[in-house]
Assembly symmetry: C2
Homo-oligomer: 440 residues x 2
Amino acid sequence: MGKPRQTFQTPRGTRDFFPADMAARRHIESCWRSTSTAWGFDEIEGPTFEHLDLYTVKSGPGIVNELFSFQRSGGDTNYALRPEFTPTLARMAVSQGKALPIPTKWFSIPCLFRAERPQRGRLREHVQWNVDVLGLAEAPADAELISVAIAALDRLGLDPSMVQVKFSHRDVVANLLKGLGVPDDQLPAAFDLLDRRDKMPAEVFVDKASSLGLNEEAVGRFDELAHTTTEPGSDPTAIKGLAAEDAGHLGELHRCLKDHGIADWCHVDLGIVRGLAYYTGTVFEIHETSGAERAIAGGGRYDHLVELFGGPSTPACGFGMGDVVLSLVLADRGLLDVEAMLPRPDAFVVCIDDDMSSHLVPVTSRLRHAGYHARSSYKQTRNPGKLLKEANANRARLAIMLGRELNDGVVVIKDLEAGEQHEIQLAELEQAVARLLDRS
Amino acid sequence: MGKPRQTFQTPRGTRDFFPADMAARRHIESCWRSTSTAWGFDEIEGPTFEHLDLYTVKSGPGIVNELFSFQRSGGDTNYALRPEFTPTLARMAVSQGKALPIPTKWFSIPCLFRAERPQRGRLREHVQWNVDVLGLAEAPADAELISVAIAALDRLGLDPSMVQVKFSHRDVVANLLKGLGVPDDQLPAAFDLLDRRDKMPAEVFVDKASSLGLNEEAVGRFDELAHTTTEPGSDPTAIKGLAAEDAGHLGELHRCLKDHGIADWCHVDLGIVRGLAYYTGTVFEIHETSGAERAIAGGGRYDHLVELFGGPSTPACGFGMGDVVLSLVLADRGLLDVEAMLPRPDAFVVCIDDDMSSHLVPVTSRLRHAGYHARSSYKQTRNPGKLLKEANANRARLAIMLGRELNDGVVVIKDLEAGEQHEIQLAELEQAVARLLDRS
């Protein structure tokens, strides 16, 4: 067996998580999980790969090139690494039939995969927090969904000056587009243009808008519509030209966001579309306010999805928040202090006398079995200075020093924060550690 | 888009985790993680797929049929869903070069994949706890590794009467085989036969053993060797026919296991081989004592592995423990009380007066932002009996009842365990909840 070292690389667009990276990842995942639970969502998970058809039924055959798909050697079933979690969620919901509770509030933290060229903020494998509400229609559920997303960002240290929820409503935008003169059969094309507005030169936009049947003045108003935003926390019914029903849609969501105490994290942005056919009502994205990064999260209402997967008509809304952009935003703001996130040892056990070396493992083991995070030195040295240096390098709170005092059943514990030393009876080790850690 | 419902199934050999399933999975994973941390291991993670070569370099081209492998559409790089974590670990360790700490104690909880026919205890996707020590030679590291495995099983509620570590040592068995007359060049074949001893009829074993060059008496002694075990906790140096060096190997590990306080969880079983070329010293498996299920865990020492992946010569040992067999064993023993593992709401908020419905979301939201797991009723009813029934069905500890008293700024909290009701000021909601939950 040779050593083709050139292939022993992390696959392109994927990541190795060394302990510090993993501490940051766990910090984010723990925050997602605890916030989801506090908000009354139940955790689910599905397979890492699904039948390929599960994705083509929703997104059409064009999705296949964006997926990693495969068969078993000698098999003929097509599988794909999941590019998103929603089809799995819909499949699981449908499989429950009438046993599915109304409402169903589920979250999941899956790894997802895209066979694309990796870019800043977009990798081939990432971790995504998915939160969904099935069975509840209208703004109260949309607002609860946005609320849990904001709560997690709040707990991670972000505030409304750093991140904002930009929300819109597909029906509102459809009515505004029709008011400009876009015929019904051109609405999908108009949404598509709105979605890609900022990715093309102005003259291309004018051309494309004109081809929708809009005159020059209407093209200008389309451009205005695409850039219509409100101030954070302000009443969206003040937007000019809204029909009463549409002002109702936006105003109702705004009221619900106020009930959740998060109105100042949110503002209307009628340029938010979230793709083409999928969403049916409220849509939203969460962005860093500087606009430097991709969206942190995106979601909205998709009332036809469960039906598409063979279930009954079910109102539903959900969002996904990936770890890649979020980590960039947190790091930019100095909110990923990895050192502080690494688990910190309660005790570091060292032997400073050769005659006592047989106690090292049993003492360490006792602390671990008592529930403490205990480490010990694997070094051969008995030099107290070097060993205490190692204990400090491990960021341990206490150093347990095994020396000659053990002949009298006594152990020295050094509190590495307070700098104090305590002599305690070996028999009372666990109690002494608990007391010193303020756990007793 | 049609509805080919027949394909909307969970892929064969994979699992959907509904909230109760997920609670059980999280219970096991949390136990693995907290035990690893207490024992001083740092968490890492790698990509879900790797370059295919990473697996063939260790296991040879024969492994390919046991893997799910794939290319990106239009690409020419071969990838595989990881069937095990050790090659990723070795790749990551090698990538650190001289920056790799000595020792390195890493754990990981990856999803792993096998393209095999699913069987009881063996699925196509499973979760495996991997724990490894790099840079420490000999029995003390082997014993620490076994100790963390046992500690997790202990925390999950198992005891030495339910599960046992069966350990052996490749050098000891090699010497015993040579003593029977197996020539050096037949040792791999002899290990292979030992490994598969109990999967073949007795006469096939005799044939195969004879073809190794053993006479009838030696074949009988080979059979005896394959079934040589000691009593839990007993001194393995009492095994007959051990050379001094070999008694030293087994005796030293036994002494280290005693230092960790886990000798009674362990016994020698010279029939344990753990495959062919991989392991170099201590090998072990953890089995349910009834013998009804597959191994719960397996591992040992593999001092050449890091070198195989292009790194420096590095002593190393590790084990893997999958979630599938472990879950079966825990369920068999009544140790997976899923109901008790589902996150339990601290408070369930209900509105029993139509005039107060505008308070439902703000009150629930306040509790969530204060860190509590708070749910509320989405039902339209204001009937206190029905709403309290729902609170109980949610297993909430407290019901927060919003009624006419709110006109005076008063909320009724019902302690659903104690059955007591308390009237508190809405302004002091969080403090009252903390007090009632014994958190204050």
